[in-house]
């Protein structure tokens, strides 16, 4: 099967700073990639390159065989779902219009948009009857994030980009959200690229993980590979902190139950 997404030798500089340095990777249909690393490692810039909120200095991107430079940026973005940390809902639009926004831009018929929106709201646990006519200001943080997710999926994209989608909500809400994303992915079959700084999140959601440092990819592969043979100090350090946390938590639980 040909790759759904190919990023080839992408480089982006901001002045003297090389934000993204010659990175390449591929993503199969339905596959999820997590970009992980410390702040300033270039993971968010990489995500923005993928949907062309930022254009690369060199390199090229292909989506389903189509070159990014052959279509306009807005057309490119409409084919890709986009979820941001704070949801970024349009405050003057209802939930229904927010979710249907991309489909509306693509010129779908009203009835088709309505059906799609209703189905998606049900899938993310916000029944249209109750929530469709609400405004974002009437939603909780977790509900906003779910609406943001539904908006990204409404135009049936093959690829969804998620910029720290779970970091703005509390732990319980986060667990539910992650469950929803996995369920939706299994059902709809989209591929995803997710930016995160939390390795546990990456383990839960991603098929493969790209560890980034100083604008480059240090190591890319499934979780097992990273754990078994970490390629250097950056990866070690990334795995180390959660491992220690996990040991402490395990110890605490066994003490409590013993």
């Amino acid at each position: 099967m040909p790759a759904l997404l190919s990023a080839r030798k992408l480089t982006k500089r901001f002045g003297d700073v090389v934000a993204v340095n010659d990175i390449s990777f591929e993503l199969e249909p339905g596959e999820t990639l997590a970009l992980i690393g410390a702040s300033g490692c270039g993971k968010t810039t990489t995500l923005k390159l993928l949907n062309r909120l930022i254009e690369p200095d060199t390199g090229e991107i292909l989506l389903a065989g189509k070159r990014a430079s052959d279509v306009s940026a807005p057309d490119w973005r409409r084919r890709i779902g986009y979820v941001i940390q704070s949801a970024g809902l349009f405050p003057h639009w209802t939930v229904e219009r927010n979710v249907g926004a991309t489909a509306e831009l693509l010129g779908w018929e009203t009835a088709r948009i309505r059906d799609k929106v209703t189905a998606l709201l049900d899938m993310v646990g916000l029944p249209a009857d109750t929530y469709a006519a609400r405004f974002p200001s009437e939603l909780s943080g977790g509900q906003k994030q779910r609406v943001g997710l539904a908006r990204a999926l409404a135009a049936e994209p093959e690829l969804v980009l998620m910029d720290e989608p779970f970091s703005a909500v509390d732990a319980l809400t986060k667990e539910g959200l992650i469950r929803d994303v996995l369920r939706l992915r299994d059902k709809l079959g989209f591929a995803a690229v997710m930016v995160t700084h939390d390795i546990a999140e990456a383990f839960e959601v991603a098929d493969k993980i790209a560890v980034m440092d100083a604008g480059g990819i240090v190591q890319i592969g499934p979780a097992e590979t990273l754990i078994k043979s970490p390629a250097g100090d950056t990866v070690e350090a990334l795995l180390d902190a959660p491992r220690r946390t996990a040991q402490r938590v395990t110890a605490a639980f066994s003490e409590g139950s013993g």
């Binding site: 949907n51 909120l53 807005p74 057309d75 490119w76 973005r77 409409r78 986009y82 941001i84 940390q85 704070s86 949801a87 970024g88 809902l89 349009f90 405050p91 003057h92 926004a101 991309t102 831009l105 693509l106 943001g148 908006r151 990204a152």
Partner: protein
């Protein structure tokens, strides 16, 4: 002005005010919002645009309006007023557009781009709707400013509710001043509320509120359609008294006035003479002194009354003072030669500056002549224009008046200030009714430092070719003595009669004295 007459001219003043304000606000909106959009995308444009708008805002309203006249090549009336007010409305709308667009949440903007909106779609569907409340707040500020500042458009010849205020100030008709203020305030508040209604309608997308907004706007505009019973009473029935009928049937003639009582009365009297010949007469009231002359040379008004000394000093910029007859002859030939302006003739009286004191002051300080003021430490008041004129400098130097403290004030307040003892000396107008009424003493001017100010009718270059118009006005030449003019002015300034009543009286007086011309009115002082 009596209250009945205030209502009579109300529709046209209200219409002028409304159209002027509305056009300026709409223009401000159409300029500022696009400019604000551009500026919000470019720091390089935002700085200069805001700086320019702020500078415009610091120019006093009246000055900005006045500046537009020379900027438009001397044009008066709607256009300079419109342009100034439109400029005035730019700052609040521009600033709020920039602030409003800048206040849109950056995550929301990123999401809009991220889901595939083009720049235009993002602007129209996201940025502008979210910035709208702030932009509308700017629009509301602008509309209140503009409706208020539109009252200042009278001196540049645009008719507005300001005519009540300016004329009321000059004729000391405080009822008219208050009336003008109240109506323009009411208009400002009403417009503000209508804009609020439209904003609300847009926010909740309610066709019913849009309809309500339109109804409100129609309600505000409705006084424009009203006519308050019939046309202005004219004195045309007196036409047989003044002599032959002249064929001005259906012609429209525009007269100008400066902003003091005598000018308003004379414009009415000239109007009667023209109406007697069948013309329809418009009056551009309360023009600034030089604005009136410029308007005449451009043909925007057909005729008005000016004074020989004013033309001599401010138009010809002459500093010497030849005898009275010579100034008249020289100004007349100069006006025709340089501006194509025809002097129809002198009305018969002089309205000069006269140095005046109360009788009590004159007796206490033993004052007879201006020279008796030499070296004294008194306060002299005049209109602000006078102290900038050469004749003041000359009188000051000729009589040693260097110790006098000068105070500029509106001429409407001068006489009372003298009565109250707030000032000791004023430059009275020699035709002012208050000289007699307040028993003021005019001091002699043995050195002839103050130039003569014969009132004369000036005609625009077009009117200079118009025999019918000239013949209609000719009966007024050499027909008004200083005593008659002073009496007519006194009726308004002291007895609080309306301008129209005073004009009616003067018109009758002219007609009744037709058989006995005022004679030796033009001899040297």
């Amino acid at each position: 002005m009596g209250f009945g007459e205030e209502w009579l001219v109300f529709p046209s003043r209200y219409t002028g005010h409304f159209i002027l304000s509305f056009a300026a606000i709409v223009t401000g909106l159409l300029v500022s919002v696009p400019l604000g959009i551009l500026a919000s995308r470019s720091e390089r444009l935002a700085g200069p645009a805001l700086a320019f708008a702020s500078i415009v805002q610091t120019i006093p309203g009246l000055a900005l309006l006045a500046l537009m006249v020379p900027l438009l090549g001397g044009r008066i009336g709607f256009w300079p007023a419109y342009l100034a007010l439109a400029l005035y409305s730019v700052l609040p709308i521009l600033r709020n557009t920039i602030v409003g667009l800048g206040s849109v949440d950056k995550d929301v903007r990123e999401a809009a781009r991220g889901i595939g909106m083009t720049d235009t779609q993002r602007l129209v569907q996201v940025d502008l709707p979210l910035a709208a409340p702030i932009i509308v707040a700017g629009l509301r500020t602008a509309s209140v400013w503009v409706v208020g500042a539109a009252t200042l458009s009278t001196p540049v010849g645009a008719e507005s509710l300001g005519n009540y205020i300016f004329q009321g100030l000059q004729t000391r008709d405080w009822g008219a001043v208050l009336f003008g203020c109240l109506i323009s305030a009411a208009l400002a508040i009403a417009l503000d509320q209508v804009i609020r209604l439209f904003e609300r309608a847009a926010a909740i997308q309610s066709p019913r509120l849009v309809a309500a907004g339109l109804a409100g706007l129609a309600l505000i505009a409705s006084p424009m359609l009203t006519t308050f019973g019939g046309s202005q009473p004219s004195a045309a029935t007196d036409l047989e008294l003044i002599g032959e009928t002249v064929p001005l049937q259906g012609r429209e003639v525009t007269l100008g006035t400066k902003s003091f009582t005598e000018q308003y009365i004379l414009a009415d009297v000239m109007g009667y003479a023209l109406e007697a010949g069948g013309a329809r007469v418009n009056v551009r009231e309360g023009l600034g002194s030089t604005v009136a002359f410029d308007a005449l040379t451009r043909g925007e008004i057909d005729a008005y009354v000016d004074y020989t000394g004013t033309i001599w000093a401010t138009v010809m910029e002459r500093e010497d003072i030849p005898p009275r007859a010579a100034i008249f002859a020289q100004t007349s030939s100069y006006l025709l030669r340089e501006h194509g302006v025809l002097v129809l003739g002198r009305l018969g009286f002089e309205n000069a500056y006269g140095i005046a004191v109360t009788r009590e002051t004159a007796e206490r300080l033993d004052l007879l002549s201006v020279s008796d003021l030499a070296g004294r430490e008194l306060t002299i008041a005049s209109d602000p224009e006078f102290f900038g004129r050469n004749e003041w400098v000359r009188a000051r130097d000729a009589y040693g008046l260097g110790n006098l403290r000068t105070r500029g004030m509106d001429s409407a307040f001068m006489y009372d200030a003298l009565q109250n003892g707030e000032v000791d000396v004023i430059t009275a107008y020699t035709t002012d009714g208050r000289i007699d009424a307040y028993d003021l003493v005019l001091l002699d001017d043995p050195a002839g430092a103050l130039p003569p100010y014969d009132a004369f009718i000036l005609l625009s270059p077009d009117a200079a070719e118009d025999r019918a118009l000239q013949r209609a006005l000719e009966p007024l030449i050499a027909s008004i003595s200083a005593q008659m003019m002073r009496a007519a002015n006194g009726r308004v300034d002291i007895e609080r009669d309306s301008v129209q009543d005073a004009a009616d009286w003067l018109w009758d007086e002219i007609a009744s004295r037709r058989s006995e011309p005022i004679g030796n009115a033009f001899e040297e002082r």
